[in-house]
Amino acid sequence: MKNKVKAKKINKSRSLITTVILIAGFILLFIFMLISITQGAAAIPLSTVIEAFTNFDRDNSSHLLVMDMRLPRIIGAAFVGSGLAVAGALMQGMTRNPLADTGIMGLNSGAGLAVAICFAYFKGASYFQIVLVSFLGAAIGAAMVYIISNLVPGNNHPMKLVLAGATVSTLLSALSQGIALNSNVALNVTFWTMGSVAGTNWNQIKLALPVIVTAFIGSVVISRGVSAISMGEEVALGLGVKIKLIKFLGTMFVVLLAGTSVAIAGAVTFIGMIIPHFSRFLVGPDYRLIIPVSAVLGALLLVTADLFSKTFSPPTELPVGAVIALLGVPVFLYFARKQKGDL
């Protein structure tokens, strides 16, 4: 009986919990971004940071550092984090696969390889061209995983897609490394395959921001259909859901989000898997709530991880992808254990 009352409360308050998480998330995100701007190879006091905003002085090197290096970096981190998290949420909903993630499904490594080719063989490529190539790479990576997993006979077991994804990802990452070693851009590419937001500049932000925001709004618009698809395709069809349209749009948004994120920060894995899981744990299985919550928590995670990667052993930086894996693996194992053996 007690249990029933508890269940009732949880159910009634899901949208309230979502609101609280969104507001608290935004506040925390703002605070962490502010702290992160003050931290780095050289610490800059908060008063100087505020001064850089309110009374910018072109001759002050601290002001330049804040405006041209740290601000775009931290904005990039926030958008990459939310982009990857939303992409992961969409994929998990559309495939009903709790392990779906842009990293595991070959999108990140596909985009990574495309970008590596750009770096090595087309050195004059503009950032716009790199982003376009990155989209293409993400789409090709995803298509390869999809085709390979469909070539293997058997039903739609979650593991099948994951194994195909792992195979393709390993191949594509190995090719990226090979290209890197072969053309003396090893350091550059290694950082990309590990993931980092350190080199983000305003040009990248200007291009990436509208894409990520558009894809995010699109994701919210189709979120009800994604929720219905997550109940099974036959159930969704019976409810009158336009599955093909929603899956087409969803896949497009995933490619846009993953492609843009990889073009900024390289292959940051795990966010797309962990954050939607954690959001589902907090607000339940409705993607109308999971997607916005994932966006905020994804941004928060990457901003925090970036802060950690800068401050752990300055002046050297850890690749942020490695920090996320460090934080992410235990959390993921916890949720994987909690899940009732459906894998």
Binding site: K4, A7, R96, M231, E234, G238, G240, R288, Q339, K340
Partner: protein, 273 residues
Amino acid sequence: MENIRINGIKAGYSEKVVIEDLTIDIPLGKTTAIIGPNGCGKSTLLKSLGRILNIKKGAIYLNGKEIHGMPTKELATKLAILPQSPTAPEGLTVEELISYGRYPYQKGLGKLNEEDKKIITWALAATNLEELRYEAVDNLSGGQRQRVWIAMALAQETDVILLDEPTTYLDMAYQLEVLELLEELNKDYKCTIIMVLHDINLASRFSDFIIAMGSGKIIKAGYLTEVMTTEVLKAVYRIQANIIKDPDTGCPICMSYGLLNKERNKKLVRRGA
């Protein structure tokens, strides 16, 4: 034209045609069971009827209107379909699952209005689930879970509900619970129930009209007493059935059965060789 008319359909999956050419009228307002051996095309027929499968030839009409040409959302207000053993996402509550039945009536992000809430409450009451309203579906028993899915179909407010083996994996008491609920819906709300059933005795007890299928074709379709005969069961299942009248319900039931002699001999020969 109070029926569903299936006119010369060809249906199946991408690599394999299961039904070559099938024509049948199914009466509205009745409970219909589709029976037959494994792989005979009964699920294919049901899925084609529920436009989960596209048909390759022919047409299906609901009250004279072609269903595969109808917008899928509009059709979802006329016809609900439950696939075989659907699974709910973890943590989804009973009420939340039922509220998906309102999908075809909603626009945009789909906030539930007063009308939606009224119908969800009604569906909860009709399936006797009020007390479990806020429970997670994955914590319920198999029979309760099946009732929740039926409640979702009810919230769709359709005249026709299609079910693919609604009693699989359920214990006997739960099977009865589900079928009695469907019987009630048919009697009280004039719902047309069309379901695939494995157990011929349950089909006999709970349906008015039976479609008996074998290898993609209809072997016999008609009212109970026309289909539940030794000859039909011989043709459908290749068994020698002993049919008697159920002393409680008066329905014909298959009391015992054996393999046809011919089949048994074949088996013996194979074993001998």
